[in-house]
């Protein structure tokens, strides 16, 4: 089976769960053997792991000499121009906050360099919409040049690319929903994004969702027939380094409760602050850490300050690479109070590091975990009770240590990839 896969990012150049998940799947897929994977990203840096897939950077594909179909009734252009301003790293959330700048999907000019290649930033830039459209154009070119059996597009950024490849090649299209705009926006859905998502789902021959929670959203909010949507759960890469338990302050009995993720509405940071304040009313030998950055960070600092707990509540800012693992090694409890989390790989990483986790029922990962405490994201009583319980009653910690790691070690990308392969086979 030859699979043409469109993603948005690929390790080591990733900014979030999407890159981790598409990489994990690609790796799991390659482990199954006798399959071939072409993985396309807008921009390849050259240091990607080429052993598991052929990585193609869209920015390396010359397009000028190709006939480009820009849609119904439009003439085929060979003069391509675009005003691509690359802005520094921003999250999708930040991007939407910057959307004061009107993005038009109705453009004609695409800029290429002297070799006829389009410049991609591969980031969540101000010109995201344009990049997505450009990506689709290049996707059509790639689909014309390569031979493959099936197309697989990861998340809405790559849906148009998938659609273009399908139009060119006539091969079946699978789209992979890692999140919907309902998760990202908390209900205030961006109509442009929704339109892209909806078109992707309508055009796709099969839709993969990362949890039943997301599957429900796709069926209900995007009005997709249920039989077209299948759930394939994410997994987690085995941990290479052994966890060493660290203490923040040597000799102290202080415990650390950690929130690690983007500080955005989707992640429910305010419930974490509220729960922290509840716990601190009863016990002082605990510290709370909010690791990450995001548009709600200042609000959270203000909230924690108003609760008078800033002496025990700490903000680290955005953590990268090794610092993430170090933070987990310091942690005694990991909490993910997400309001809407299609899957949520990070609790699995915490469990790999032997950290007991509390997750919200509103996260997809709750569907597959048994050795975790699950609460509703809004239920501050239950959340603080769970934190207090893990801190004060040692049996819980022992239990999670013993069974949690084993449970996570069973969640392998290979299994997810195997399910995918079954779906491919049905379609081809």
């Amino acid at each position: 089976m030859r699979v043409l896969m469109f993603g948005w990012e690929f390790p080591p150049h990733i900014s979030g769960g999407l890159g981790t998940a598409s990489y994990g799947l690609a790796k799991g897929f390659s482990a199954l053997g006798s399959n071939e994977l072409l993985f396309v990203v807008p921009k390849a840096y050259g240091d990607e792991d080429n052993s598991i897939a052929r990585i193609i950077g869209a920015s390396n594909i010359p397009v000028t000499r190709k006939k480009i179909n820009l849609g119904k009734g439009r003439s085929k252009l060979d003069y391509i121009e675009v005003s691509s301003k690359i802005v520094p790293y921003t999250d999708p959330e930040d991007f939407w906050r910057l959307k004061s700048k009107e993005v038009s999907s109705d453009y004609k000019f695409i800029q290429t360099d002297e070799h006829g290649k389009i410049n991609f930033s591969g980031k969540y830039t101000e010109n995201l919409m344009q990049e997505i459209a450009n990506y689709a154009i290049v996707a059509g070119v790639i689909a014309d040049n390569e031979s493959f059996d099936i197309i697989h597009a990861h998340d809405w950024l790559a849906y148009p690319a998938g659609i273009a490849a399908k139009e060119v090649s006539g091969k079946p299209l699978v789209i992979h929903v890692h999140a919907t705009d309902f998760d990202r926006s908390g209900g205030k859905v961006n109509p442009d994004v929704y339109a892209i998502e909806k078109k992707g789902m309508d055009t796709a021959d099969r839709i993969i969702t990362v949890s039943n929670l997301t599957r429900q959203t796709v069926i209900e909010k995007y009005n997709i027939p249920a039989e077209k949507v299948s759930t394939v759960y994410n997994a987690v890469e085995p941990l290479e380094r052994e966890k060493e338990k660290r203490k923040l302050l040597n000799g102290s009995n202080e415990k650390i409760v950690t929130f690690l993720g983007r500080i955005t509405m989707q992640k429910g940071p305010e419930y974490f602050v509220e729960a922290a304040s509840r716990v601190l009313e009863r016990t002082k030998d605990v510290r709370f850490v909010m690791a990450g950055s995001g548009d709600m960070m200042t609000d959270m600092i203000k909230l924690a300050a108003s609760k008078n707990i800033m002496d025990r509540f700490h903000f680290t800012g955005f953590l990268r690479g090794d610092d993430v693992y170090k933070m987990l090694e310091y942690s005694d409890v990991y909490i993910m109070p997400s309001v809407s989390e299609p899957f949520g790989i990070s609790p699995l990483e915490a469990m790999q590091s032997n950290v007991p986790v509390i997750i919200s029922h509103q996260s997809g990962v709750a569907e597959i975990l048994t050795h975790a405490i699950k609460v509703n994201y809004w239920d501050i009583d239950a959340m603080s009770d769970a934190i207090y319980g893990i801190l004060k009653y040692p049996a819980l910690y022992k239990m999670f240590r013993k069974h949690g790691k084993a449970e996570v070690d069973d969640l392998k990308w290979e299994n997810s990839a195997r399910q995918l392969l079954e779906i491919y086979k049905e379609l081809v």
Binding site: R282, S384, D385, A386, Y388, G389, K392, A395, L396, M399
Partner: protein, 485 residues
């Protein structure tokens, strides 16, 4: 002659309410009255009342030919008093019949035996008293919580004067032997042991309404024919189950009541099968062999051991913590403390913390009011934390009250201190090397409050208990067997 021994267990726990950690120290009421009352009423209407009525009718109709036996936990009897006088009345009516035998059990439906035999005995006596008061009888046959049994338990029960005990016919205990015989305790052969035929019992209790079961639907005719097919020399068929099987676990619509109704009629037609109570059986039948049960067994799950209640870290911690305060609780003479002490011992609370259901027990989640074992554990531990605070608070003022005793102790402590000093001085004068300034500071002893003394005392007693608690490794052995599964 084959004897069918029908025994029904009647029990409901006092379910605990949702109790958050921030209530520790301020809220001292632990029970979910609404749930307890509504469940009791529901079970009464669906099961206890109609089943009692049917059994009364059958006893009336078959005049001594249809016999059953019951046991009630102290918890359900208390709940009858609170929410079900009508149910209690109908059970009293049953108990007054010669065809009904009431068995003894531990008052709190507890697992006390493995931590404290004193507490176990206390609870058995308490239960005797309540049964006597309500039903006017003194039971002679004992049935432990969840049919838990071991050689040691049997031996202790025999010492309390019981003639027989009920337990599970666990395969790993019986081996090739049939459950359809009368056995006796391995330590004290005077105690007879009736073992449950789990196949026939579960055919009714679990499989009756299971349409995927190849014997479904189970008719009274079919059931009696199975009993009839048991070899002639196997004369005792022990059918033990929850009483709630009738109408609650198996709904009325499944035909469970008509099954029970038809049973005596079919049996009357057959020659050579009759109903008996445990006391009939131990009077009429011969013991065939002793039964060796070094590690405790129960009627739960596939494993037939204690792992449903004491199989994981959560359960062990809760259980150990609870019994660590036994000595303190015993010093307090307050009804509310005594009530909570008993209610917290009920095995159901530990059952809710069982993590086995992750792999195999729908049964567990069916019975648990909690979302998860973790939830159950945290809730229980919060309540236990508050209870421990109350116990300690109740101890302190009490000891201050007994000023006389206090005085005497401090006087004696001074005396001891003085004598110690004397010894010290004598030693020093005898030895050549004298190290000055090593005298223990005098007066510290006299300032020490009595509670300190009490504390050291409890410590030593709990240390003494260690050997008793080393019974628990039995459960550990079972944990490994669970792994094998």
């Amino acid at each position: 002659m084959k004897n069918i021994c029908l025994y029904f267990q009647v029990h409901q726990p006092f379910r605990l309410k949702r109790y958050r950690f921030f209530e520790i120290g301020s809220d001292h009421y632990y029970y979910d009255d609404y749930t307890n009352e509504s469940i009791l009423r529901k079970v009464a209407e669906k099961s206890y009342l109609p089943a009692n009525k049917l059994i009364l009718d059958l006893i009336d109709k078959y005049k001594g030919q249809f016999k059953v036996s019951f046991s009630f936990s102290g918890m359900i009897l208390e709940q009858f008093k609170l929410y079900g006088e009508d149910v209690l009345e109908s059970f009293k009516q049953l108990a007054s019949s010669d065809s009904v035998e009431i068995l003894a059990e531990s008052y709190a439906h507890s697992l006390a035996f493995f931590k404290s035999r004193d507490e176990f005995v206390r609870q058995v006596k308490m239960h005797e008293k309540l049964v006597k008061e309500l039903f006017g009888v003194k039971p002679e046959v004992f049935r432990n919580t969840e049919l838990i049994y071991s050689d040691d338990i049997g031996n202790d029960v025999a010492k309390m004067g019981y003639k027989a005990m009920l337990t599970e016919g666990a395969k790993h205990i019986l081996g090739w032997k049939s459950p359809n015989h009368l056995y006796c305790n391995a330590i004290n052969p005077k105690l007879k042991v009736l073992v449950r035929n789990f196949k026939l019992s579960d055919d009714i209790a679990f499989r009756f309404s299971d349409e995927s079961w190849n014997e479904w639907p189970l008719t009274a005719e079919k059931f009696v024919s199975w009993i009839d097919n048991i070899p002639e020399n196997e004369e005792v068929v022990n059918i033990f189950m929850d009483y709630e099987t009738f109408g609650e676990h198996q709904w009325k619509e499944t035909g469970i009541f008509s099954f029970l109704e038809k049973l005596p009629a079919i049996i009357q037609e057959k020659k050579g099968i009759s109903f008996s109570t445990p006391s009939d059986i131990i009077r009429d039948k011969q013991v065939i062999a002793p039964i060796h049960v070094p590690n405790p067994i129960s009627w739960a799950d596939e494993e037939k051991d204690l792992t449903a209640w004491l199989g994981n870290e959560l359960q062990e911690e809760a259980y150990n913590k609870l019994y660590s305060i036994e000595d303190m609780v015993m010093k307090i003479n307050r009804d509310d403390i005594k009530r909570d002490w008993l209610n917290l011992q009920t095995s159901d609370h530990f059952y809710y913390m069982c993590t086995k259901f992750f792999s195999d027990g729908e049964v567990h989640s069916y019975f648990s009011p909690f979302d998860s074992p973790y939830d159950a554990f945290i809730n229980y531990m919060n309540i236990l934390s508050d209870f421990i605070l109350r116990v300690k608070a109740n101890l302190a003022p009490e000891s201050e009250d007994s000023t006389e005793l206090n005085l005497r102790i401090s006087k004696q402590e001074k005396e001891i201190e003085k004598l110690k000093n004397q010894i010290e001085r004598l030693k020093k004068s005898e030895q050549a090397k004298v190290k000055p300034g090593r005298k223990p500071a005098t007066g510290t002893g006299s300032r020490a409050p009595i509670s300190k003394k009490a504390a050291t005392k409890t410590k030593t007693t709990s240390r003494k208990k260690k050997p008793a608690s080393s019974k628990i490794p039995a459960t550990k052995a079972k944990t490994t067997s669970r792994k094998k599964k």
